[in-house]
């Protein structure tokens, strides 16, 4: 059984390592993210959101669903901690 697990892990690792060969290089200027997404943010973020800090514009406007999810995760963590630990003396 251990041998089978080892083989499975090895094959999955090899598959993932092979798949990374298709990824664009780090900070490659001709990758899709750099040719389609980033320039739009850099050129339009200030005109459309009047926010000089592009990071904030992307975080809270373009990707605000993501940030809503993050806030709910923190809220859930707090509520879970309360429910697990809190008890009256």
């Amino acid at each position: 059984m251990k041998f089978l697990t080892f083989i499975t892990i090895l094959m999955t690792t090899a598959m993932l390592a092979y798949a990374t060969l298709d990824m664009p290089g780090f900070a490659d200027p001709s990758s899709p993210a750099s040719t389609h997404v980033s320039p739009v943010y850099i050129q339009e973020a200030y005109e459309k959101t009047a926010t000089p800090n592009i990071v904030t514009a992307v975080l809270a406007d373009y990707r605000s669903y993501d940030t809503l999810g993050e806030t709910v995760v923190i809220f859930t963590a707090g509520v879970a901690c309360m429910m697990l630990l809190r008890r009256e003396k």
Binding site: P52, N53, T71, G78
Partner: protein, 151 residues
Amino acid sequence: MIRDFEGVIIKTVCRALVPFIQLYGLYVIAHGHYSPGGGFQGGCILAASFILMALAYDINEVKKRLSEKMNTIFCSLGVIIYAGIGILCLILGANYLDYGILHKILPADPAHARSLGILGVEIGVGFTVMAVMVSIFLNIASGGEHEGEEN
């Protein structure tokens, strides 16, 4: 449970620092449009001021200023502000969290309405992060056995 102890230097320094830490936290939240910062970071700084108070004094001193009831309300208030702004956009006829439409009710053009929408959302995030950090600290530091509300 963190207990009160006699430490004049620690208490005095804490008393002098806490207002400035809180002011800085509010600055980080409000200034997220122009510099690194925003709701998460500012909320953490605000929570740090309460945690410093709990360390220098004791837990009851924090609960006098930020009662457990208010803390729990703040936890959910932040998420409600965030989701509420999204639903407000929905009611005004745009997509969920599409702040541009807020120019109908705010005295600003769509671009500045987006800016104000971002600010509102950051304030909501700040509320939740601050309240959750304080609540987790109090619960873990005391094993969940800090004293209940004095009713």
